[in-house]
């Protein structure tokens, strides 16, 4: 594999707990790879292994062809990292932070001011460079952190939930920045637990309980053949309807989605005809049953369910 970021059968144990369980993937140059999964799925642990902050229990993590466990310093020179928890110095101003990291990364003196100016422009921080970071709003902090991470023009960026806790407008703006960076040939590995952000990534890795459940583009993952046809069911008593549908003939999977149910069925036409009388027979009055396009979340739920089932059988 000649990817910029390569994981080969990566395992990380904390005592008895297996945080990362045999993960393999590869990200090519200029690609934006998204890690999607619930909290505690192991996304941060994988990223921290790539940044040389944690040693893998087994397996290999390679960045730009370098084994991270062998030569972490060579890797650190080539990467930019945004940790999940905001980790710039709150008691320094935006500019002081930028200057500090530029010097730590040994940005040439002659270029220092120009690079900082560019980071300030990119992050839209003009006029706020002398403000203490503690006083900046969430979206600004996030963009400043990205600015600090790319001062030294790293070839690879690791962004761990960079948009958590930021308003939707700031999130969108942040993703534009990530795209602009990737367009310059920077490889980006970014984690998030917002399903809708998957659309911004070239490829997505669905991660659950330390395992890679699926890898592919958003549209590939949505077109999950095992998902079958998807119906949206609106009714009064969601709990009872869910229990009834899970045992209904022709129903593969049913899950609550907002104040509706998403029901995955083998045959759309038959289900549309059979489900209303079935539910009424159970004393539930369906207001509406319509076919819908599956979302990434549907796919994720199905894939995780499949993985759990195959585990149970094994």
């Amino acid at each position: 594999m000649n990817g910029q970021i390569v994981a080969e059968n990566l395992v990380k144990r904390f005592g008895e707990f297996v945080a990362v369980d045999g993960v393999s993937f590869s990200v090519s140059r200029g690609e934006i790879m998204g890690f999607i999964g619930p909290n505690g799925a192991g996304k941060s642990t994988i990223i921290r292994i790539f940044c040389g902050l944690l040693r893998p229990s087994s397996g290999v993590a390679r960045v730009a062809g370098i084994d991270v466990a062998r030569d972490p310093e060579a890797v650190r020179q080539r990467i930019g990292y945004m940790s999940q928890k905001f980790s710039l110095y709150s008691d320094l101003t935006a500019e002081e932070n930028l200057r500090f990291f530029a010097r730590i990364y040994r940005v040439p003196r002659a270029e220092l001011d120009a690079r900082i100016q560019r980071a300030v422009d990119m992050a839209g921080l003009a006029g706020h460079t002398q403000a203490l970071v503690a006083t900046l709003a969430g979206g600004w902090k996030q963009r400043l952190a990205l600015g600090c991470a790319i001062l030294h023009k790293p070839a690879i960026l690791f962004l761990d939930e960079p948009t958590s806790g930021v308003d939707p407008q700031a999130r969108r703006r942040f993703w534009e920045l990530i795209h602009a960076t990737a367009a310059q040939g920077v490889t980006v590995l970014v984690s998030t637990h917002y399903m809708d952000e998957a659309e911004y990534c070239n490829r997505i890795a669905l991660i659950n309980q330390g395992r890679l459940v699926a890898v592919g583009s958003a549209s590939e993952l949505r077109r999950n053949p095992r998902l079958g046809d998807l119906l949206l069911v609106e009714c009064a008593d969601l709990g009872r309807a869910l229990a009834a549908l899970r045992g209904a003939p022709g129903v593969r999977e049913a899950a609550v989605f907002g104040n509706t149910l998403h029901v995955s069925v083998a045959d759309k036409a038959r289900a549309l005809a059979e489900l209303p009388p079935f539910l009424r027979g159970k004393g539930i009055q369906p207001h509406r049953i319509v076919p819908i396009e599956p979302t990434l979340e549907d796919s994720f739920v199905e894939l995780v369910g499949q993985a759990a089932k195959s585990e149970a059988h094994a």
Partner: protein, 378 residues
């Protein structure tokens, strides 16, 4: 190792100290407060011991003797009583710590036997004060007796019947006034250096862990050696400034004589700072909370320096076991050096031994501190 990175860290650290009220207080206020609190608070001299007198003789002689007690700055006559019961009550009530009883035959015995005695009753619940009070009283009475004898001798033109008693004529060197403040304040400088140095550096890594900034810092190519040097540099500067401030106060305000050379003090202080800053740094690497790290730093600096360095209790009067332990108390060497530079004017050559002790400590601690921090979250 990259100088620019080291300076970047030093600069950042200095900005943070400047903006952190807690660190500022430790760097600026603590030395000032310690100097004044302990400089005035700790004095082993005792003056104005509250004293009761019971003059049974009530003669010209007995009054002359008591006048000497009054004149001495060691005693303050608070009460005159006329029986033992009253004296006892005064001692019990704590009105006085010393009772002087001049017997009814005081002058008679002095003139006939050439010697007489005065009774001193001491409240020994504070044994240090008691010993000193008894000692001072003894010397007042002896001086009176000697003068009295001389007066008689010159008055009659007769030779004394008894030969002059042999007396020890002691000459005190280096601290001629036996002022305990001169003795204590140089040690206080050491104490403040230890406290400030270790306290400040104990916060330096734990602050980064606590605020979550460490994760990003160790993801950069900065080496742990660059980090240590960069982080300790500002504290060296602050420590030296504090030392200069304390020495200036000691000489300028407290009037402690400074007989040595500043260069000797400067070099040994640098060495001592290397030890205490290293200790603080190692603690900071091991304990990832600021409160925890500063507690441990207090325990490892203040306690041994106050008790076992010779700062307050003379080492040669300690039991052998404790005396042996003082050799591992790093501040013992520095306290010895500072006192010698201040009071004896010792130079580097005379201080070779304690300097060697400090040097060994500095090397070992620097090694430990450099190893203590690992660039890993694990």
């Amino acid at each position: 190792m990259n100088v620019r990175r080291i300076l970047a860290i030093a600069r950042k650290e200095l900005i943070q100290v400047r903006r952190d009220p807690r660190s500022l207080a430790i760097a600026l206020l603590l030395p000032l407060m310690q100097m004044f609190l302990l400089g005035y608070g700790i004095s082993l001299d005792i003056t104005n011991i509250p004293t009761c007198v019971y003059d049974q003789e009530a003669s010209q002689h007995s009054q002359a003797l008591l006048a000497r007690f009054k004149a001495s700055r060691y005693f303050g006559i608070v009460k005159s009583v006329w029986d033992y019961g009253a004296l006892r009550r005064a001692l019990d009530a704590g009105d006085c710590q010393l009772g002087i009883v001049v017997p009814w035959n005081f002058s008679l015995r002095l003139s006939t036997d050439g010697k007489s005695s005065v009774q001193a009753l001491v409240d020994a619940t504070n044994d240090n004060t008691a010993t000193l009070a008894a000692g001072y009283a003894q010397s007042v009475v002896s001086a009176y007796a000697a003068d009295d004898l001389e007066l008689r001798f010159t008055g009659t033109g007769r030779r004394l019947g008894a030969p002059q008693p042999l007396a020890v004529d002691s000459r005190v060197w280096f601290n001629e006034d036996l002022a305990s403040r001169d003795f204590i304040i140089p040690g206080l400088v050491a104490m403040i250096m230890a406290l400030v140095g270790a306290l400040l550096t104990s916060l330096t890594l734990s602050r980064e862990w606590e605020r979550g900034t460490m994760e990003l810092l160790i993801s950069t190519p900065v080496t742990s050696m660059e980090l240590m040097i960069g982080k300790l540099l500002p504290y060296f500067a602050i420590g030296m400034a504090d030392a200069a401030f304390c020495v200036a106060l000691a000489v300028g305000w407290f009037g402690v004589p400074f007989r040595g050379q500043l260069v000797t003090l400067f070099l040994t202080t640098l060495l001592f700072l290397a030890v205490v800053l290293g200790i603080g740094y190692a603690i900071s690497a091991a304990i990832r909370s600021q409160i925890g790290a500063s507690q441990v730093a207090l325990l490892l600096t203040m306690l041994p320096t106050a008790m076992l360095s010779g700062f307050s209790f003379p080492i040669d009067q300690m039991p052998a076991v404790i005396r042996a332990i003082t050799y591992v108390v790093y501040s013992r060497y520095y306290v010895t050096i500072v006192k010698a530079v201040f009071l004896k004017g010792s130079g580097l050559a005379q201080l070779a031994l304690p300097i060697a002790g400090l040097l060994i400590y500095a090397v070992v601690i620097t090694f430990v501190a450099a190893r203590a921090f690992r660039k890993s979250l694990g």
